[in-house]
Structures are given as C-alpha cells and as structure tokens.
C-alpha cells in the first residue's frame, strides 16, 4: 500500500522537480497538491503546479490554491531565483485542467479525513497553509503521520544571515507548525546545501529520454544561474525541495538528529530563524528530526533512477 502524501508547494524550480519525483514513485500516493505563496505570487504558483501536472498527464490529482499571503506579513517573493513566472526556463504546457472549488485548507481536510491511513504532509514552500490547516482542524491531527518539510537551517541563512527563505516568508506560520506537536522532519539548508547538482548531473538527467527528465534538466539549467554567484562557494545548485521526497523514499541517504527547534518571530535581525538546539543547551524536548548530512552521489542517483520511471509504459 503506497504512503499517502499531500504536497503543499510554491513552484518554483525545486518544487517542480519535487513534484515530478513524488509522482514517479509507486511507493507514494499523492492525494492532493496545494499551493502556497512564496517563490512567486499565489496565482503563479498555482498555475505552475497545474502546468507541471499537465506535462505529466496527471489531471487526476486535485489541486487547490492556498492563502494568498503570509499570516501576518506582506508577501516576499523570490523572483530573483525563479524568474518572472516562478518557473522560468523550460517550455511548459498551459494547464489542461482547473483547480478544485475548495480552498487548500478545505481540500487538505477532506483528503485527510477520508484517508484510511495517516497522511504525510510535504510542504516545500512557506508554511502558511499547513499552519492554517493544523490550527483550524485540531480534530484531524491524529490523522497526520508527519510533516516532512523543506525549510530552515541550523545556523545559516539564505535570505537573511539568519533565515532560510521558506521560514522567513511566514515565521508566524512556521512557529505554529513547530509548536503543533505533529512529528516534523526538517530538511534545512544544512543538508540541502550539500545536495548540490553539478553540471554533469544535469547532463545525466538530460540523457534520460522522456519529457519529465527533459523538463528537470531545463529547470536545472535555469536554477543554476542564481547559484553560480561565487559568494555562495557552491560548485553546483543546491536542490532544496526534492530532499523531502528523497527522505521519504531513501532515508538511508541522510543522517538526522532529533532536536528542539524553535522559530524566532521577534528578533531585530533573526526573524524567521529556525533555532536548532543541536547541543541540548535548552533542556527542551525534541520538536523535529533535523537532517544534517546527505549522500550527494546517492541523491543524484536517486533522482536519475526516478526520472527513468517516466520512460516506462504506464
């Protein structure tokens, strides 16, 4: 029986790849895709999710747009990374189907309520929708297996010196999620900055002859541009969001430590920071499993392997 998941994303290049990987795996059943405002405005991230699903011919997946902005702040977008469409680079088809009539929170509630198994939520954008869903539906917490999220870091930032983008965009939402008591796996920059895709990896993906793999290669071509700035000290592009899917399918690629993680919502310079108590200095109980290391070669191999699934007859 496949593991039921709901993807809440803000595509976004790495979200799109994450979606492609999730839908390649027989071990996962994607109950719904919901979209958050983040890498681009909510209309664009919703449209991008529909375009990717159209490319994959997965009109069967219900899609719903979520909250148009963070809980208590104005929306910040990452068009410097993801371009004007939020998914610049590859040619993608126009959406061949429409979102459902429900809001993202309503769709999540319906799917979680109806599912016989506990559902895993996989957010790869700001946590606005997840926070609202958890707060509005305490009666469904017991039906949530865990939240496997891309966000945060233990001590570095990529948007401010202290904060990673997804958490920085909506710290209040992240705070609610990390205080919810639902089990959390945090794929933060510590691990995603190790999950770098090199030029030769892209060519390896491009050599896989199916539209999904071609799309991934073209997404990565564009995604590389921002990350070539020498200030980062990167050799490739850190493939943040797909680490969540890799964790679900190949946890052996990672090392993880259970830690207390708090979300800073109040600092002058540190808002949106995930404060990770790696050395057990606070005495507080663990609130998340934090991923610290990844087998990069294994990760690239995993992606290639999943992309080959799309060459098989369905």
């Amino acid at each position: 029986m496949p593991r039921p998941i709901i993807l809440d994303c803000d595509p976004g290049h790495d979200d799109a790849i994450s979606l492609i990987l999730a839908l390649s795996a027989a071990e996962l059943e994607v109950l719904a895709v919901t979209t958050s405002a983040g890498n681009q405005t909510p209309d664009k991230t919703l449209n991008n999710a529909l375009r990717v699903l159209t490319l994959l011919g997965r009109h069967d997946i219900p899609v719903a747009g979520g909250a148009p902005k963070p809980l208590a702040r104005e929306l910040i977008i990452a068009d410097n990374v993801h371009g004007e469409s939020g998914l610049d680079g590859p040619k993608l088809p126009d959406p061949a189907f429409a979102p459902v009539k429900q809001t993202a929170i309503e769709l999540m509630a319906e799917k979680v309520r109806a599912c016989e198994q506990a559902v895993t939520l996989v957010p790869t954008g700001p946590l606005t929708n997840i926070a609202l869903f958890l707060a509005a539906h305490p009666e469904l917490h017991h039906k949530i297996d865990s939240i496997v999220l891309m966000g945060g870091a233990a001590g570095i930032g990529n948007w401010t010196p202290a904060a990673e983008f997804n958490i920085f965009v909506d710290p209040e939402a992240a705070d609610m999620v990390f205080k919810s008591g639902v089990p959390i796996v945090m794929c933060g920059l510590d691990v995603t900055h190790q999950a770098q895709i090199m030029d030769e990896d892209i060519e390896r993906f491009r050599a896989i002859d199916n539209p999904a793999a071609q799309c991934v290669a073209e997404l990565l071509d564009f995604f590389m541009i921002y990350h070539r700035d020498p200030k980062w000290g990167f050799s490739g592009a850190p493939l943040h969001d797909p680490c969540t899917i890799a964790w679900l399918l190949k946890p052996e690629l990672f090392t993880a430590i259970d830690c207390w993680v708090g979300i800073e919502t109040q600092g002058e310079y540190t808002q949106g920071m995930t404060v990770v108590d790696r050395y057990q200095l606070t005495g507080k109980p663990h609130t998340a499993k934090v991923l610290f290391e990844i087998d990069r070669e294994g990760f690239v191999g995993f992606i290639a392997s999943q992309l080959k699934e799309y060459s098989k007859a369905r």
Copy 2:
C-alpha cells in the same frame, strides 16, 4: 430586514449577557454562535454557550466550538474573574442540544457564504477563530460587513499594564485580524471601563420578571466580586462585551475616532497591547473605529429595555 451577525464568544459573564442582549433584538439575526478559548477552557466556554441558549430556548441557533488554544501560545484563562465554570453564579440548565458537527471556522464559512447580506462578526473573546476564518477564507472577505469586537484599549491594560485580556491571550490572532483590511470597530477598555454597572442597576434588572433578566442579574452579582477590588477605582463592574451589541443597536450612545491600531506581538512588557494612534503620530491609515466614550446611563437603559423584550410573548 435584520442585520445578520455571528457571535464568537468565550462565555464568560459579560459574553453571556451579550448573547442575551443580541437574541433580544429583532434588528439582529444571529446566524451562529461559535466559541473561543479564553475566559475558560474551550470545552467550558462551548458548554456555557449551549447552556445560555438552552435557557433562552434558542436551540435553533447553530453552535460550534472553535480552536482549543491560541495560535502560537499556551492558553491563559480568567478563572479569577469568571469562576471555575466560566459562568459561576446563576443556576443554568444543562444543554438541551448539541453543537453542530462542523468546526467553528467551517460554520462561519457556511453561514457567511450562504447569507445574502454581508455578515457582521462580533467577537467578544480572543480572536483565534476570527483570525483563522479570515486567513483560511480570503474569498469571503467581501461578504463580511465588519468586525465589532470587544478587546484592547488605548493606553491601559487589565491583564498586564499594557494589555487587555482578549488581545493578550492571542496577540498573533489579533494582529492578523487588525491587518486583514476588514472594517473593525474596537470596543476597548477606554469605553468598557466607563460602562460600569452599579448595584442599583443590577436591582433594576432583577426587577424585570423573566428568566433572562433574572439570569443577567445573577451573572452580575458574581461579576461584581472581582471588580470590587479598590485598586481599580471602580464604582461598579465594567460590562465589557455587551458594549458590542449596544454599538450595533445604539451607536449614538458612543463617541468614536478612526485610528490606526497596531497589535504589539513582540515587546518584553507590551505583548498583546493595542497600540492606538490617537494623535496621528505615525502617518499610517486608519485600521479601526475606536470607541472612546459611552453614555453610561443610556447604556444601562438600553440593557433594561432589551431585557424587557423577554417578557413579551414570542
């Protein structure tokens, strides 16, 4: 055509009186009652709402319980004011009916969506449910006439030196509500501390021969106890929540000033403060109509008059 309202409350003595007044008025149509955690734990405030409606024979009003705790904080209750049940004092019947199956947010959404007119939300507890409803349903904002709330103050506090109880319990929710763009009327301590009910007023209500009025008198008997502490400098008990209903039905009793109001969520000593820009020092646009003065005699007369409605045949 009566004005459609939804009461979101945490009964609570003054909430109960507010409910009794709202249901006495032909000018108002109570579409639903939802309950928040605040004066007491969520199970008790829900039960109290059902008990008051049972007393009034209004089993027709749908009731739903809301979020069990504030968005990002542990629940603080005011049992020092409202007693162990949250409604200590009068003998109330056990609930003769059950809440609906929906959550508070689902019930609000259904009623607002279905109503032909724009609906007025009347929260008299912490703003947790209202914040979640607004954030989860941006598509319904245009169907909300306004939010007439009890909470906050311009420069005083009743729970901390800077904060009023309802806002202090869930500042993040209040922040979301005040930033929502939905028109707000704020009945804060400035006006509710003037809305004092004296011993002779209670006797005036007790002289009205119907169960609703008797209940109000007994609620006030208990509510007086906390407020007799000389530190407050009160002559009577400030009847906070019913000011919202008085504003809806008799706005001429009040003076109001349009102000920018911000919610402090970050201070060391000021969390939960409603920062009211009465002197236009910030240059920011108005976000609320703030009530500053009330005609106390007129307010007491209004209550007496509404309570007499319950003596009429229905």
Copy 3:
C-alpha cells in the same frame, strides 16, 4: 542648606525654563549642568545651556557636554518643536564662557564624589548620560538622593502612539536607569499634559520686568506654535521639563503613585514606552514614583513667583 542638584538637559525651550527656575531658587544648589543630545544635536544643546547661563550671569556653574548620541541608536531630534537652534524664539547672548574640559560623566562623578550631601539628578532630556554615569560609577550610587526626571507616560505617547520623546530617543539608557535601584520620580506626559501654559499665563510672565522673565515669555511664544495643532486637543502648551523643578520645590502641587515602571526596548510598535503598572497587575516591586496630577493654577503661580526672584538684587 540648599538641596544639591545636577541638571542634565537638552535645551530645548522647556529645559531652558527649567534651568531658569532651578537657578532662581535659594532652596536648590546647582552643582553642574550637563547636556544630552535630544531636542537638538549635542553641540547645539551644549551651546544653548551656555547661552542661558550667560543670560543669567551664572558663569560659575560648570557645564559639560555629554554623549553625542544614544547608547545603541541613531540620534533623533525634535527640531519640529524647538527649531533649528533648539531654542528658537528669544534673542540670547553668545556664550560668555566655555564648558569644562571633562566629559559630562566625569563632571557628574567629581561633583557627586565631592558633595557632602547626597545629590539629586534632574534629567530633562534623553537619559544617555545618566545611564552611563550610573553604570560606570556603581560606587557612587549611595551618594545619589534620587533622580527626578521628565520622561515617559502611563499609556500615551507624544512621539509615537506609545512613547514619549525623551525615553524614545534612548530606550536602552532609560532601561538602565529604571533598573538601577536609585529612587526615581517620573514626571511624565500624564502630568505635563496637564501643566499647560495658556496665552494669558505668558502675558503674566511677560509683565515681570527682568531679563529671565522676558526670556521665558519669548520661549513660550515659540513653544506655543507646535502645540496649537488641534489634534492634541490642547488649550495651551504643556510645559514638560519645569515640572521637575516644581516637584522639587512644591511637591504639594502633585499627586503621585508608587508604581513598577518598565522600559520597553523590544516591541515592534512600543519601543521607548514606559510601562506603568498602575493597577498592580505584575506583582513587581515599585521602581518609581509616578506623578499623575498637577494643580495647574498652582504651577503657573509657582513659575511667576520664581521669575520675580530675578527682579531682586543679588
């Protein structure tokens, strides 16, 4: 034996009047005048102190300039209130003497150390110098009688909705002062907004035939301009700083309550607020005597009486 005081000020119209009143009184001995950055830049407030003392012929008073800016923030000035010189309006002589070679903190330390009695500090600007003096000289705390300061308020602001100017300019300094354990008398906006000088009061001062009184009248002519804005609801101009001298000489004009007062340094909207626990909600011990009411007529009479002292032969 007169009461020894040190005036730490940022003249500023009301500081200048405060200085004039302090030097009129045989009951007070002004050991030194130090200047803070606040109403104007530090060079201007120092120069203004020298100009006022030159007008009064008091070259014997040692004057020292203090910290050029707040402890941890950029300087904010109030040139909208006090004009380009910080003392616009009257014609004042150029300084006929120079400041001492010491810094303000060194001068305070020398005078407090040398004085046989405990000294009262009277700051009427931002508390930067006082904070540094207290922190750098714990060994002299026992030689400080008290700090009688103009600053703060219980629930209103004049620079932001929550903060009074003197405290807002340097909240960290104010925090250090209020935590120092030295007895504090706080003349805040609650009382200084009652200490309004009307047009007829100015004429009463102008009728006193000596240069000090003429100067006060002319200072008030200018000071009136800012305060005529109807948004304040003032009939006259609130004469903030001289309330400190009135308290020292005529405490019977005031009502005061001992309260815990905390300084908010961390809020989003409330930085620089003096949080006054008037209703004993925190359970914390008193940290200041807060003035709440003033006999305005008595205050005006006090000023007139002191100004007449300058008509006497010296």
Copy 4:
C-alpha cells in the same frame, strides 16, 4: 616598539592563559588589566586577575575592577565551566598587590589618553566595560587601534542554541561595541572550537619547566572536564580567549572574512546572537573581521613557544 594593549577579562581559565601569553611577548605592552563580571562574580574575576599577575610577578601592571553586572540584565556566571573560584584547578598565590583606586573605565581612559600610540583593547569576557568606555569617551575613539575580542559565532552557540556566553551575558553592551565604528576583530566559536587543546598538548606544556607553563597545564586539566561531554563532539578543550593573543602575534594562523555583524538583543530565542552576514545578504557595510579558521597545530606550537619565554632569565 611593542604594541600597547589593554586586557579586559573575566578569568576564567582561558582568560588566565590569555593573560599569561600576552605577558610572555615582547611584542606586546600590557598597559592595564581590567576585569569584567562573567565567568564568575566581579569580586572573583578581579581577585583571579591579581592572583595570576602575582604568580607572574607582574605587580607593575595596574589592575581595576569593572562594572559589577551587565548594563541591563542580571549577571549570569559560568561556574559550571570554571568552578567556584572561577579558576578552579591550579594552586595560585594570594594577590600580593591591590587594584588601583580607579574604576576600570577611568583606568582605560587614563591609559589610552596617555599613550602615544593607538591602543588595542582585548576583551575576553562580556563587553560591559568596553561598551561603557566607548560610550563615555567618544573623544578617545581615535586613540583606539582596534578591539580584538573573544565572543560570538557565525551560526552556533555554546550557552543557548544561538548565543555564545560572552555576548549572551551582556548583549546590549556588545551591541554598543559593534555599532561603535571602532575596528573589531571577532574571535568567535567558529575558530575557537577548532582551537582545541588535546591531552597530549597539555603534557607538552607541562613538560616546560617554569611556573607559568605548570599553571597553564593545571588550568587545562580542569578546563578539560566540562568539555569531555560527548554532546559537543570535541576531542579536546576549545581554548577560546587565547585566540585573541594568537591573532595579535600570529595572524597568519587564521583565515578571516570582513563581514557585517549585528548583535541580536530582541529575539525570543536568539538574544545575544552575533548575526554574521557571511554571504553579503544584507548589503550592509562590514563591521568586523570575523575569524573562521585556525591552524590548530600552529596554535599549539605558538602556546608552547610563548610558555618557554618564562624559562628565560628576565
């Protein structure tokens, strides 16, 4: 001509070693030693400085005690690391001389004013004294060469998940120092956690036959105890404070990056954090040279070499 320095320390085992190293070097002239409250209470850190100097026979160095507590907070001490005396382990002589009559700030001011060269300040405890000195003596900033401090980190903490001890104890002081405009070299945990002393290094020092080296070995024996906790993942003990002296004498042992560094004073979980903009995300100008890497072998060799100086005839 030796480089004139003032050591402001809270001995503390690593402070004591820092002192021993500084006084071993002909290239440095220690103008004064001042003590801060930190690793232990101010009376103990002062006494410890005197004891170390007595051991070394350096009664000629003027010593002054500084502020008894942080600027705006209660003192936190690290007796779990440094023991009841603050310098548990070795037998040290009682002080053979007394501190000067001046305060730490007065002594610093005198020495900096009198010195023909610009002076380097070397704080290895909380920055309380340095902040007060800088704020009280803006006229001497041009006489300060730089501040070479042990404190902070780029993304880790040793006292809270986000903060290093020295900065955490007095964040307001650190904020003032980092905003002062005086050049700063920051030896933080990034580098000091690499500066680990192993058991074999201690034996290497013990083999140097003079009292200073013996004392260092015994100090390290005790200092090891706290750092053996496996949670740290250390092989030895990180020798924080002596990195400052190593930087002064052997900067080639380090790699450093100029960064903007801000001090978080306001967060819920991040107070006392040094926020280091390593990736130039803020666009703010550099405020410190941050040390990121150290040649550990070279560092140990440097210590050994300096300790041998004490075997030479003086």
